[in-house]
């Protein structure tokens, strides 16, 4: 039995366009099924109950709307305020749902491909042809999702495709002849972490296992052992993170999975935590604090790559063709690395002699390696 519906939109007013979109979706859907309950319509179309009842009432109350044309010449609604059940009759051509446009198809194709990439089990570079799980006997969810993605690919074209085309593509999937590389226009890599590591971290989250990890803190250039209670494995902006309670810091931390050098189960989690709504700020820590430093650099033409590569607060084109940027610095070691990488491509704008010396000190340290 369906659970009681809760609409995502129930906390806000819908615009007229949003309500119209829902109405156009629900009318043929209800008609195709012979009828539906208010509860089900509310849940299926994210249509807050109060607004749904008002809109249905308004539709029925208005009889003469157009000169010789009214909604009832197209759609007939059998419902009264207070009823729980709605019946709709539509002309045959309206019974199918509205077509997805190419933007909608592309978005769904993107999430579908991302989910399929989660299901590759090997740790080697994935072969896109076998990555897709197209053959019969494959996992039902993957196979069903694959079929849906092929249909989305056809919708991207935004042209009308007949039954024959649909059958042709479905047959190719069922025979395992589908080539994801040339037949699908979107591919997604959620992050560059070892799949075995990801799977083991996810298992630790699911089974509430405590881990001891060896972690490379890139910003400080320090490797440390930490005991953590894993909470969530999550991809953000193309990188995998482990959100975990760190017993060393006595706080939640986000660890880049590709910087976890080693990990092992070291116990059971006793205080189980959850993150209901991971957000970019929670994961990347981009919020400024009192301890953070803001550094200004002026980049010459060769150094402009840094403005794309690192997160920056501000940028300003100078009259001489150089680019001034401001960056948030949480670790001086991180800044030292950036300054040596940029070398003569960046001028440091600073009154702080410690910043001025950073580049020289770091360069000297690395130079020792070559003596």
């Amino acid at each position: 039995m369906a659970t009681k519906p809760t609409t995502r939109s129930s906390h806000r007013d819908l615009t007229a366009a949003e309500r119209t979109a829902r109405l156009l979706g629900l009318l043929p859907w209800v008609a195709a099924r012979g009828g539906a309950s208010i509860d089900e319509i509310e849940s299926r179309f994210d249509y807050p109950r109060k607004i749904l009842l008002a809109d249905l009432t308004a539709l029925i109350d208005e009889n003469e709307l157009l000169d010789g044309h009214n909604v009832f010449s197209v759609v007939s609604i059998d419902w009264m305020l207070g009823d729980d059940y709605v019946q709709v009759r539509c002309p045959k051509w309206m019974l199918a749902p509205m077509r997805l446009n190419s933007d909608e198809a592309a978005r769904l194709l993107t999430v579908g491909r991302a989910v399929l990439s989660l299901n590759t089990d090997t740790d080697t570079d994935p072969d896109p042809d076998t990555d897709f799980g197209t053959g019969p006997g494959e996992d039902t969810e993957i196979f069903t999702l694959t079929r849906a993605l092929i249909k989305l690919q056809l919708m991207l074209d935004d042209a009308k495709r007949g039954l024959n085309t649909r059958h042709k593509y479905t047959e190719r999937v069922e025979k395992g002849e589908f080539d994801a590389n040339t037949d699908i226009s979107i591919e997604v890599n959620l992050g560059n972490a070892k799949k075995t590591t990801l799977n083991e971290l996810r298992r630790a989250v699911d089974e509430h296992k405590q881990l001891t990890i060896e972690y490379y803190s890139y910003g400080r250039d320090v490797i440390s052992a930490r005991t953590v209670d894993p909470v969530l494995v999550y991809s953000h902006s193309g990188r995998w993170y482990l959100s975990a309670w760190c017993h060393t810091a006595a706080d939640m931390r986000n660890f880049r999975v590709d910087r976890i050098l080693d990990h092992r189960v070291s116990g059971d989690v006793t205080d189980i935590r959850t993150i209901d709504n991971p957000t970019p700020i929670a994961l990347t820590g981009d919020d400024l604090t009192e301890d953070d430093l803001v550094v200004t650099l002026i980049l010459n033409h060769e150094g402009r790559w840094a403005a794309e590569h690192y997160p920056i607060l501000e940028r300003r084109e100078l009259d001489d063709g150089r680019l001034e940027i401001k960056m948030v610095v949480k670790e001086l070691t991180w800044l030292a690395r950036v300054l040596v990488q940029l070398g003569p491509q960046a001028e440091i704008v600073s009154n702080d002699s410690a910043i001025e010396d950073l580049r020289a000190t770091a360069a000297a340290r690395i130079l020792e390696r070559y003596r």
């Binding site: 051509w93 033409h301 580049r359």
Partner: protein, 330 residues
């Protein structure tokens, strides 16, 4: 009826009128046929036009394929509005309940802006339908696991790839002082290392190329698509580079050079994973990585990122370049 309901009513009636009309209609004809305060003759022409423009935008936002044709029976040519016959999916591709359930489950696992709206056209699958596809899907294991950025440029280019249409756009790399027009046969869109890329064939350079979408310096609606489709028999979709295995030092115009670097034991596994190369382990736990390098500047950046945990062994020219770079900063 409040004004929101009135507007909604007007949108539904506009759609009904356009769908049922035998021919496209002008704005004046729509105004005459619709009984709505906002379109009444009491309102000025300017006020009507403003409302009509907003209504058109809303119809497009809902996903109604509004068409505009200029007919010049009189002089000047007047816009006539219609809705494509294919607005509904009858006899077209449509999803089974299981496929919708699988797609909806995917949208729960990976977040993307604007990805929930398509289900307003098809109905959001119920938990029972989702359970049929993935038993126990309601449990914690299938919550959100990731999010991606997305914008209309990506969907426009992906659609062009699906349609087999060549595209033209302005593109500027950070090392270029201005943008250049590129003409590309798009093969696919690829999300890797946090960025969207267009992979395709550059017609002018006659070579496969990658373009970062955030470097495309033109409004998405100005990206030109060619009218004629690409002949796939003579211009097949290529595989293109495997972005997952590409590293910054692979992108460059110079001939590939074999470079050996020695990484300390502390960072051996990290360097090996991030370079995509297994390397030759040494007795002390360090590792020698052999890399193919087309871009020495990018390789220098990678080596410096590991501070004094790594050194370039050979070729001697690159080792000397690194020493000179560092000495200039000391």
């Amino acid at each position: 009826m409040n004004r929101h309901q009135q507007k909604q009513q007007r949108l539904v009636n506009l759609i009904t009128l356009l769908l049922r009309s035998r021919r496209p209609l002008t704005a004046a004809e729509l105004r005459a046929k619709l009984t709505d305060d906002a379109y009444s003759e009491d309102k000025s022409e300017e006020a009507f036009r403003r409302t009509f423009e907003r209504d058109k935008k809303d119809l497009l936002a809902i996903g109604i394929p509004l068409t505009v044709t200029k007919w010049d029976f009189g002089n000047p040519a007047i816009d006539h509005y219609g809705i494509e016959d294919s607005v509904y999916a009858e006899r077209d591709i449509s999803f089974t309940a299981e496929e919708l359930a699988a797609l909806h489950l995917a949208t729960r696992q990976v977040r993307l802006p604007g990805v929930e709206e398509p289900f307003l056209k098809t109905g959001i699958p119920s938990e029972d339908e989702i359970e049929k596809v993935v038993p126990d899907s309601g449990q914690a294991g299938l919550g959100t696991v990731g999010e991606l950025p997305f914008d209309r440029t990506v969907s426009k280019l992906a659609a062009a790839a699906a349609k087999g249409k060549c595209v033209e756009f302005h593109y500027q790399r950070p090392d270029q002082k201005s943008s250049y027009v590129r003409t590309v046969e798009p093969w696919r869109m690829s999300f890797d290392k946090g960025h969207w890329y267009l992979v395709g064939w550059d017609r002018v350079r006659s070579a496969e190329r990658l373009f970062r979408v955030d470097r495309i310096k033109i409004r998405v609606d100005r990206i030109q698509e060619s009218i004629r489709e690409i002949d796939r028999a003579t211009h097949p979709v290529g595989k293109g580079p495997d972005l997952r295995s590409m590293k910054p030092w692979h992108y460059g115009p110079t001939k590939s050079v074999e470079v050996k670097i020695l990484v300390d034991a502390t960072l051996a596994s990290w360097a090996s994973h991030n370079s995509g190369v297994e390397g030759t382990p040494q007795p002390d736990g360090s590792v020698i990585l052999t890399l193919s390098v087309n871009n020495p500047d990018a390789l220098r950046g990678f080596v410096i990122s590991m501070f004094d945990h790594v050194e370039i062994l050979e070729p001697s020219e690159l080792r000397d370049d690194m020493i000179a770079w560092l000495k200039a900063l000391v």
